[in-house]
């Protein structure tokens, strides 16, 4: 039986541990000590949160363009062709995010490749197969220091 955790413990877990995950041989034990629970209890809880989808994963968040090359790309797709073109774009393994957005440029996706040359050739391939132009808007500068996502914005009464 999975122990019941309070909302407060959940917010603390999700809010306080989005960065500085311990780089020690037993990171979960270190985390459990800070949360005042046992390592086993924490591991079971994390597994349950992952299974229900509240946690996407635990681990490193990589900065774009440090390894390989990536870009944010946009296309203006006629509404009647949107699903077909969206499926085409999603079928590329190098596309990891693909969103429909409300704008003249209505398809937005991130393309990642091992280097600039490969990235360019994927973008050209997309243009050729769709017959549409792909706007490539690579990151030029990152202005955000990423400490994770502050969950007190969700109306956490304890924040």
């Amino acid at each position: 039986m999975h122990p019941v955790h309070s909302q407060q413990q959940l917010y603390r877990l999700l809010n306080d541990f989005q960065h500085d995950f311990p780089l020690s041989p037993t990171p979960y034990a270190d985390m459990a000590a800070k949360l005042g629970m046992s390592e086993t209890e924490l591991l079971e809880w994390l597994k349950a949160l992952q299974d229900e989808g509240s946690i996407s994963r635990i681990g490193a968040v990589f900065r774009p363009n440090r390894i390989g090359a990536s870009t944010l790309a946009a296309m203006a797709v006629p509404e009647t062709r949107l699903q077909t073109v969206a499926d085409l774009i999603s079928s590329y393994p190098s596309v990891n995010h693909n969103y429909k957005r409300e704008h003249h440029f209505n398809l937005w996706f991130v393309v990642t490749a091992e280097n600039e040359t490969r990235l360019e050739s994927i973008l050209r391939d997309m243009e050729q197969r769709s017959g549409l132009r792909v706007l490539s808007l690579p990151m030029e500068k990152d202005y955000h220091i990423d400490l994770g996502f502050p969950l007190q914005l969700a109306g956490n009464p304890h924040a």
Partner: protein, 169 residues
């Protein structure tokens, strides 16, 4: 003052062992007592080597942060608005740092304009529980920018067509 990473850092090339560590961890660390030892065993290296390499990749900025990655949608943040801004080039750095420091902004990047159709050079991702909440936050940003805002728009996602963990190797 925040320091935006210099473009030179992009040239850092991790070796094949670093890439293997990234490959094995990019979908998440295993939920076992000694996750780094589990990775080390697969690569036939020591646990301390895995830890040292992750530390080095963190220090040089390849790893932005390490920890729990919550699922915003599951937690009620169902609206995400990509706010885009046309900022005079002379002021992009100061404005970028100001917007990037806002707690409701999860990503803030300078990107190239694509004239004439795309005049926006600053992207700030704003999350909220509703479109209204996102719009309110965008209004806050517009208020802060004053006359440095030469036009903006906010693009809401209407559908997620694909979202997978980052695969970089």
């Amino acid at each position: 003052m925040m320091q935006a990473p210099s473009p030179q850092h992009r040239l850092y090339t991790p070796d094949h062992i670093d890439r293997e560590i990234i490959r094995l961890t990019q979908q998440g660390l295993p939920l076992v007592r000694e996750p780094y030892a589990a990775i080390a065993a697969q690569l036939n290296i020591s646990t301390s080597q895995v830890i040292e390499r992750l530390q080095a990749m963190t220090d040089c900025g390849i790893i932005r942060r390490s920890g729990i990655v919550p699922n915003h949608y599951k937690l009620g943040f169902t609206a995400n608005g990509m706010s885009v801004w046309n900022i005079p080039d002379a002021h992009i750095n100061e404005i970028g740092m100001m917007v990037g420091a806002l707690e409701f902004v999860s990503h803030c990047y300078q990107r190239p304009r694509f004239l004439p159709e795309w005049p926006y050079n600053l992207f700030a991702m704003v999350h909220g529980r509703s479109k209204e909440e996102v719009r309110d936050k965008v209004t806050v940003i517009a208020g802060m920018l004053g006359e440095n805002n030469c036009g903006h728009s906010v693009l809401f996602s209407t559908r997620i067509l694909k979202k997978t963990g980052l695969r970089i190797v």
